[in-house]
Subunit: 244 residues, 2 copies
DNA sequence: GCAAAAGTGTTCTCGGTACACCCATGC
DNA sequence: GCATGGGTGTACCGAGAACACTTTTGC
């Protein structure tokens, strides 16, 4: 029998691209590393997978330890394995993206990996000179999110439990990086019957208060079971802008 | 500085789900293993990633060495990392799917991993008791293919350079596991302007010979650059069948 | 001439898109 | 009373889906 020992000299990590939504801005949670390599660089929350831990478990543990997050939407996206991507040796990483309700939590680093945790606008990430190949990972995950949000109602994972239709629309606009037509958006969303009208109103706003809605997870489960497709199309307004 | 040595004790592999299309059957290429673990089991063509090799390179090398395949469509799908998935130690694997023109090549094992190489119908795979978690990998890759084929014209990768519209339709039906309406399918495909009419006919068939077409890769490139979406919808005939 | 697959057009329906004005609140 | 965003309906258009008969070949 051959000897395979020489293959058992690599490590692997998980890295999380954590999306949040705030006002009308799509954000990503980053940590400032306090250990080598890339000490003092901004980076995705990620760490080595333990020997007795499978990949998803590792991703959830890292979310908890580095960002204090629990119980969030999490999906594997892609693995990155360039030979020289890690200075300590051969390290493959598995990228995940996750969606969190941003106002829900206050990132508190209580570990010796992250010296600081902070939300950044997606559009600012390219100026930060992220550690490793993390910028590429952000790009790939953002593209994946853009695609997924058209196919499943995962947008709700980014909003508080009660939200207005305008907030939902702003979220879609931020993710898809486009403008949506208000009336068409509402018609489409409401026609899916995935929202529960809470018969409550916004309060304390300096304009006509909006109705509050809640996502109907039970109904969504029903739809899933009978196979169903969710999609949001963009308005063509931007084309007119492009011409002018 | 911490010591990370304990993390550098794992290995990783790549595994390929290789799809081919033959007559009206979607097939997968499997090897019969001639080394432990799972000796004599059918398995996906896969092997350890070498220390100085990145993931895509490894996938292509394995395709070449184990299946004699070169220059094929290849895409990363997902990584699998259950703790006990490999008896020799901690091994993560990265699953790829690839698409090949089946009549183009005759699988010849010339290596000491595969004792035999053979095409199996996708529908038969679940009876083979594949090595490792390979059956799950086949399922995931098949689902991915089903989705991708609706969004990009990758179906052509599975057909010979010259093909008839009926062959193309049978391919879509095999992948999507549904029936398609002939007239609607042709209208849709031809309206995309991605096929070149070769002004040639099938020969030697015991019925009216069909026109031969060729995929227009150049035009596809143009479309890609200006952002474009390709989709094929299924017929609703099967619903009628289900009722009867 | 018969079996077997190729080829071809029209109608209907539904979802997508464009588009503009009145309403309720805080200040 | 004014600024701010909330909320609403209609007409048009195009893509998708349903559907049946004639044509060409090998035998």
């Amino acid at each position: 029998m051959k000897n395979f020992d020489s293959y058992f000299k690599s490590a692997f990590t998980v890295d999380n691209v954590i999306f949040g939504f705030d006002e009308s801005d799509l954000k990503i949670l980053l940590i400032k590393r306090q250990e080598d390599p890339y000490i003092d660089h901004w980076a995705l929350p990620g760490y080595f997978v333990l020997p007795d831990e499978d990949l998803n478990t590792a991703a959830r543990r890292v979310l908890k330890q580095l960002a204090g997050l629990d119980n969030v939407y999490l999906e594997q996206v892609k693995s990155f394995g360039a030979v020289d991507r890690h200075p300590f040796g051969r390290v493959i990483t598995v990228a995940y993206y996750s969606l969190v309700k941003i106002d829900n939590f206050n990132p508190q680093p209580d570990n010796d990996v992250a010296k600081e945790v902070r939300w950044f606008s997606v559009s600012d990430v390219s100026n930060l000179n992220l550690a490793f190949d993390h910028e590429e990972m952000v790009d790939v995950c953002f593209e994946t999110l853009k695609h997924q949000v058209r196919v499943r109602p995962i947008g709700f994972e980014l909003l508080p439990p009660k939200f207005t239709l305008t907030e939902l629309q702003h979220l879609y606009e931020a993710i898809l990086e486009t403008d949506l037509d208000k009336r068409n958006f509402r018609k489409k969303i409401l026609s899916m019957n995935l929202l529960i009208d809470l018969d409550e109103m916004q309060a304390g706003v300096a304009h006509r208060p909006a109705k509050l809605y809640q996502f109907d997870y039970d109904k969504y489960q029903e739809f899933l079971e009978e196979g169903f497709s969710f999609e949001v199309k963009e308005s063509k307004r931007k084309e007119r802008q492009a011409v002018s």
